[in-house]
């Protein structure tokens, strides 16, 4: 544990994108195109990018740019129509059935509206992050292995919810619910985290707290993050790389430090119709 933390700290102090210590891309997206209906409009019109091991990468852009669709393509909650997604060296698009489930359990996802099961306890919600690894019998009786329960309790403490373990999820405030969502995603021991507007249902102060927490935990567990977010200020503060999208195209890709006002203007040019 302590060892892990030391590594995390040294990583954080080194400045993240400057040195790319022979890190190969965890996620590669090539010429990704999506349209929901065969004859419908194209939502993504050919997106290319790669995410590396230490990226905390924000996807920004106006509403309707395709940010959510892009994130959901990666764990195939949305089916891509063209192009290629390679995750952990494995092509995502041909996967079926249990292969797809095995891929999904390596991907943690945090949602805009938390997507908790409201009538279930906080603990059960967090434990449900392990379902991909849990057999039918155990999941029927909610009899998770000891180590999962230990990990869930540890994570709940880590996100500051140790006093709410047995409460029902709908008894919590928005910020607390998102912390449950974070703990659930981390239960998976994810190798990449997908964040779909994790803060837009929260007020500005809580948003910052939640982003800070995610950033901290991502560094601690050494998980790369792909985060779709529309609060530009928050994106620049908490992420080290920005992908700007507009109307299904990638308009910008670079470190958040190098981003200039005119880059932002270009991304958001379409917003005033």
């Amino acid at each position: 544990m302590r060892h892990e933390k030391n590594i995390a700290e040294s990583r954080a102090t080194r400045g993240s994108t400057a040195d790319t210590v022979a890190s190969m891309s965890i996620l590669q997206v090539r010429n990704l195109k999506v349209s929901y209906a065969a004859s419908g409009p194209q939502i993504l019109k050919g997106i290319d990018f790669a995410v590396d091991g230490e990226d905390f990468c924000a996807v920004i852009g106006p509403s309707g740019a395709g940010k959510s669709t892009l994130i959901r393509c990666i764990n195939r909650l949305v089916e891509p129509t063209e192009g290629d997604i390679v995750l952990f060296g494995q092509s995502v698009r041909p996967l079926r059935g249990s292969e797809l489930r095995h891929l999904r359990r390596r991907i943690g996802m945090i949602f805009q509206e938390f997507n908790l099961v409201n009538r279930m306890s906080v603990m059960d919600n967090v434990l449900s992050g392990r379902l991909g690894y849990t057999g039918a019998f155990r999941s029927f009786f909610k009899a998770f292995p000891r180590e999962d329960i230990d990990r869930a309790l540890h994570l709940l403490e880590r996100v500051g919810l140790q006093d709410h373990v047995d409460k029902r999820a709908d008894a919590l405030s928005g910020g607390q619910r998102q912390r449950v969502g974070i703990a659930r995603a981390l239960m998976q021991k994810p190798e990449i985290l997908l964040l779909d507007e994790p803060t837009s249902a929260l007020d500005p102060k809580i948003s910052r707290d939640v982003m800070r927490l995610i950033r901290e935990l991502a560094t601690e567990f050494k998980v790369p993050v792909l985060c779709n977010i529309h609060d530009v200020q928050l994106a620049l503060e908490s992420c080290n790389r920005i992908i700007g999208m507009q109307d299904g195209y990638k308009k910008f890709d670079g470190p958040s430090k190098g981003m200039r006002k005119q880059d932002l203007d270009e991304i958001y040019a379409m917003e005033v119709l």
């Binding site: 999904r104 359990r105 997507n115 099961v117 449900s128 991909g132 029927f140």
Partner: protein
């Protein structure tokens, strides 16, 4: 301009009056047609179809009804076992109905059905089939299939319960919040886990409420199952009727009433406890 407006409004008034008159005539025609159909029904079913000679005047009717009035209390101890049997039939029938409803609701809920073109219509068809056949008909079928006793009653009650429970359940499934389902899919959950964790908790209160309600109804249904030989209080009713022991018939009816009242009370508190 004011002249034109006046003439238009006068013309409008005439047209409106004519319209109203024709509407009134139409309404009267509809009422008259309805009355004619009603008169035809009364004539054919009541006037021609009743054996007036056998009824024997007001005294005769009163005399027959009076025989029901003298309740045969001596029968009371013999009703305990059939009453219990009726309750058990209702309970077991409801439980079996619930189990059978699970796949039907799964097939018949548009958002989770395993196949839209085969199993979805099948699920919907089973829902309609279960409800469109009366419980007595179901009981007759099962008495024929498995013989006399409580078992055909249980099966009949179960079959009759499927329609309502599975329809309400399927509708609850169709109305769930899809977001938790998405989350369970995203962690790599399989179809069973998605339903058990993502859908189950959301529909549970509706289902339990429905089951309690259905149990309440099933007590009524079980009470008459005996009429076709499927056990319970209905069988005693049938025997008393066959022996022309009208007082005994009344006591059975009172027992049924008590049982239903009991079910009503229990289900009221059970539902309160759940919701």
């Amino acid at each position: 301009m004011s002249l034109a407006a006046t003439s238009v409004s006068e013309h409008g008034f005439d047209a409106w009056l004519a319209h109203k008159r024709s509407r009134r005539i139409k309404n009267w025609l509809i009422v008259a047609a309805g009355a004619a159909v009603l008169a035809w029904c009364v004539r054919d079913t009541i006037l021609f179809d009743t054996d007036w000679a056998r009824m024997g005047g007001a005294l005769g009717i009163g005399g027959t009804l009076e025989r029901f009035f003298w309740v045969d209390w001596s029968l009371a101890p013999k009703l305990l076992v059939p009453a219990l049997e009726t309750l058990m039939m209702a309970t077991l029938g409801t439980i079996l109905g619930c189990i059978l409803s699970l796949p039907v609701a799964w097939f018949g809920a548009a958002n989770v059905t395993p196949s839209r073109f085969i199993l979805y219509p099948l699920g919907r068809f089973l829902m309609v089939l279960s409800r469109s056949i009366h419980e007595i008909i179901w009981a007759l079928l099962f008495v024929g299939a498995v013989g006399l006793g409580a078992l055909p009653g249980i099966l009949a009650v179960a079959m009759r319960s499927i329609g309502f429970i599975s329809k309400i359940t399927a509708e609850a499934i169709e109305n769930i919040d899809p977001k938790p389902v998405e989350a369970i899919r995203a962690v790599g959950g399989n179809q069973f886990q998605v339903m058990y964790y993502g859908i189950g908790p959301q529909i549970l209160p509706v289902i339990i409420g429905t089951i309690i309600f259905e149990w309440d109804i099933n007590i009524r249904r079980s009470a008459i199952m005996g009429l076709v030989g499927a056990g319970g209080l209905g069988l005693v009713f049938f025997r008393q009727m066959a022996m022309f022991n009208y007082g005994g018939v009344t006591l059975v009816v009172l027992a049924v009433l008590a049982l239903i009242a009991l079910g009503e009370v229990v289900s009221h508190f059970a539902r309160k406890a759940v919701i």
